[in-house]
Each structure stands twice: as structure tokens, then as C-alpha cells.
Symmetry: C2
Subunit: 318 residues, 2 copies
Amino acid sequence: MTAAPAFAAIQAARARIAGSVRCTPILRSDFLDEELGAQLYFKCENLQVTGAFKARGAFNAVLNLPQALAARGVVTHSSGNHGAALALAARSRGIAAYVVAPRTTPASKQQNMLRYGAKLQLCEPTLAARQAAAERIIADTGATLIHPFDNADVMAGQGTVALELLEQVPQLDAIVCPIGGGGLISGTAVAAHGIDPRIRILGAEPLGADDAQRSKNAGAITPVMQPHSLADGLLATLAPSTFEVIRSQVHAVGTVTEEDIVAGMRRVWEELKIIIEASSAVPLAALLNGALPIAGQRVGIVLTGGNVDLQRLPWKQD
Amino acid sequence: MTAAPAFAAIQAARARIAGSVRCTPILRSDFLDEELGAQLYFKCENLQVTGAFKARGAFNAVLNLPQALAARGVVTHSSGNHGAALALAARSRGIAAYVVAPRTTPASKQQNMLRYGAKLQLCEPTLAARQAAAERIIADTGATLIHPFDNADVMAGQGTVALELLEQVPQLDAIVCPIGGGGLISGTAVAAHGIDPRIRILGAEPLGADDAQRSKNAGAITPVMQPHSLADGLLATLAPSTFEVIRSQVHAVGTVTEEDIVAGMRRVWEELKIIIEASSAVPLAALLNGALPIAGQRVGIVLTGGNVDLQRLPWKQD
């Protein structure tokens, strides 16, 4: 069973991926600071290679594979940012990356994975079909499954965001992350508390996929049966490995409506002049709607990705 | 008559504005590098305060005013990025910024200037009306006119982009800037050649506002009678001060169609995950359409601004 990474594993991940990923910039907005009565530091992982923080975990997992295993390739069933990140990491090591995706995956996402070199295999749009297809690839090729979050190397890689952030902005009071499967926030919590145990770790998720808040309240993983949100990167259910960290090291989880997400996304585009996807807007949305009070604090906000279909924006054109 | 700034004036400008503006990040794209067979370094002035490089020139001019003059305020007739930048610079010094703008100025641009504290005065949409309104304000208040480009302090401020860029990326072969009134490219040429006289300075402008190319070819300022382009920051005509630098220190000027501009803008949004306005896309568009050959070179591209009406994008939604 997967366990969350130790702080030392996150430090090792940082050294391992240093030549492969970017140290992303921090941006600020006087207008947003004024509105929230806080100091906000936006960590721009939308400017990361492949357009998302997922490159960190994927590179750490791929670069940490022993050569004999790596030679047979890697496989995943994430058709989103993890799929593209895994493809790039695999290509950098000269190995195959198999990505199983439902045949309903939008053409723009399929093309994006293909241009990073993924070997794409389409299947019926059910969880069972995806798992069966991945298992067949593993049986045929000996490829290693790199799960998008329930994997200690992936979590450790995602934790490197917080190591960088806390060097760029020392003495934060809190860090806010979106929660999907929980890989980012669990890596973040371990990394941040390894540096300063007083830092508050805050999670944010869509109301339509609020399994982290329900699970924390119930004290046990409590899936949402039909999760739905514009924030399509946040629909996964927690794994035991990520829930354990969320249970013990995440201080609060706030939820946001779909309208909150669109408003938060648009505010970031307008104020910071950067493109973030809906999933990335969830933390700011949870500050703006009051779900996570941070007045008077210095707060880091992880903007997780910028992969948006520019012909399908969630607001109207005049 | 205004003269172009000396290199030392640009260095002085940098020290003067250091506490007021941001050192903006450099972004890169493997896909664009591959497509153009070059190494591109995007200098992200869209991430500058007020969303445009104009903050540099405006702060330098405002901070360099003697106190007795400054106390009476500043005035300009630019309703775009210079207007907002001047308002912020003036507010930081506690003085008034009067901005004269045609009453046809889009509400979003008016609101943007107002939120930076501009005293907005609307007039009829003619050049004569704008000049008359500005002169009346000067007569009434004693405010100092800060022209958006025909001003040595403004040009010196804009030149600080190149000082920073060449520290962030030493040994560039070329720097590409858009040309409107020519303030940015003339500051850039003086700054870059003060560091390395071999750097090629390249200009790019819309075909519908190609007065820089015409003027360079003719050896004298040659205005375009009815300039028109989506790149609404590039419609101004060169001043003698900026033309003198463009004539002597700019190596080539390339032009782009409106379709080139939209395509370039969208490529930057997609590949770099940042928001740039149409005017900012003109340099990359002039590389992509072949007007400015740069194969095999290390090239800095100044992305000038990111102030876009997100409800009026120049491409269709599905």
C-alpha cells in the first residue's frame, strides 16, 4: 500500500527533477490583496512545463525508476495533465508512455498528449474499461503504472512546489491548494510542515466533488457518487495515502460553487494576466466566497495549471 | 525638441523606478523554438504593474519631476496603457493625473484608468479636441504633460526592459519589439547597444499602421493616414525623437496582417499560458510569418501588455 512521502523524499525529488522542471514565478495583485485584506502570493504552476504542476510528480516517478523497469515503459489512465506530464517525462528518458483515455476525451486533450509523445489508447468511457486497458498494457509490455496521485514518488514531486514557494516567500501563514485526488495537498503539507510546522494547509474543492470535506468530517474516505464540476481536474476520489495526510495535516477544506469558480478564474485572468484552468481557480474562489478566512495573513496560493480550450471559455462573449 | 535618452539616462531610470516596478519573468516554449529553429526568450511585461511596460516610462517621468512641478500634477491624452500607468505613478507620488480620453473609449478602459486613480476627462473623438482639452488642463492647473513616447524620461524608462532582459539572458543576437510611437524600441536600442553594439534590434508593426517601415524606407517620417489594426496600441505615428533612433539603430522592421496578429496572440496564450493583448503579439507574428528571419539565433521578444477585454476575444467560441 502506498504511503505518503517523508520530507526527505521531497527534498530528494527536488534535486532529481531540478534539470527537468521550471522554478515557476510568484505573481501578486494589489487589487486582490486589498479586497481580501491579506497578502497573496500566487505560485504559477500554470507556467510549468506541460502547463501544470503534474510535471513535477511525473518526472520524479519516471526518473526514479530503475533502468530495467524503466526500459519497459510507463502507463497511466489519466487523460488530463498527468497524462501529458508522464509522456514528456518518459520521452526525456527515451522510454514509452502509454496513456489509456476514454474515447470521449476532447480532441484538444488527445492532441496535447500526442504532441508530448504519448502512446494513446482509447477505450470505452467507464472506469472498468480504463483499468482493463491499463492492465492489458502492463501484461503485454511490463510497463510500470504511474498513478496520478496514489504514488509516493508522484506525491513527493508535487511537494516540491511548496519547497520552492517557501524559499521564494519565507514565513507564509497559510498555503491553499485545490484537492482532487489529494496528491498535491498531501505533498504540500509534508513539505511545508517539514520547514515550519505552524503553516496552515488549506484545501479547496468544488461543491459537486466535495469528497475531501466529507471525508474529513466523517473521519473516513467518503466518495461523492457522481462528482461533477467545470473543475475537471478535481473529480477524483481521495486514496488512503492522501486521505491520511489530509486527515492529520490539512487544517480546513472550503467548497465553492460553479459560479464561484468561473468568477475566480476570470479574476485571475484579469488581474494577473495569466491563463489558468477552472481547477486552478478553486483556491482563490474559496477565499473570495469566505469559505476559508485568511484576513491579515500571508497566504501562498498554488495555481495548478493553464490548459484551457480557448474556444470554450466558461463566460460569454459580447 | 525631445532627444532620445543616453545610455546613462536609462541606467539612472532603472535605479529610480526599481522600487515601483517589477522585474518581470522570462518565459520559453520548446514548441515555438522548434517551429522557428531559434531560441526565443519572452520578456513578460504583460505581468508588469498595470499590465504593461508603460509603467516603466510613466514612473520614470513622474519620479523625475522636481517637487514644485510635480505638485501641480501630470496630464496625458493616452487612454490606453500609458494613461493607466501615469495614473498609478502619480498616485504613488500623491499627485493628480489628468487623462484626456475620447468619449468613445470603451467602458472597460475607462474603468481601468479610474481604478488606478486617474482624473478622467472625456472629449470629442478627434485629435484636435484631445489636444485642446489637454492644453486647457495645463493652463488651469499647471500640470506637466507626460507624452506617451515623445519624452526622454519615458523613453529612458522603457529602455529599462532591455537592461533587465540582457541580465536575465546574456548574449542575445536580437531583440524584437512592436512599434507604435516608437518609445519602446528607441529605449531598447539605446539600452541594448550600450551593453553590446552587435545586438540586432528588430521592429514589428501591423500592415495597417506601417509608418515605421515606410519612414525607414523613405528616410523621413511618413505617416499612415488612417492607421487601423486590432493592435490598438500601435496606431500612433513616430515622433522625430523616436524616428532618429529607428533610422540609425533599428536593423529591420517587419509587418504582419490582422490574421497573423490573431494567430500569434493565440499561440502565446496556448503555449505560454499568459494573456497578451493584440499589440503584444505583433513581434512573434512577424517571426512566424517570416518577415523577420531569425533562424539559429537567440532572440528576446518583448511582450508589451496584457490588457484585454475578456468578453471580446478576436477568435470564435465553439
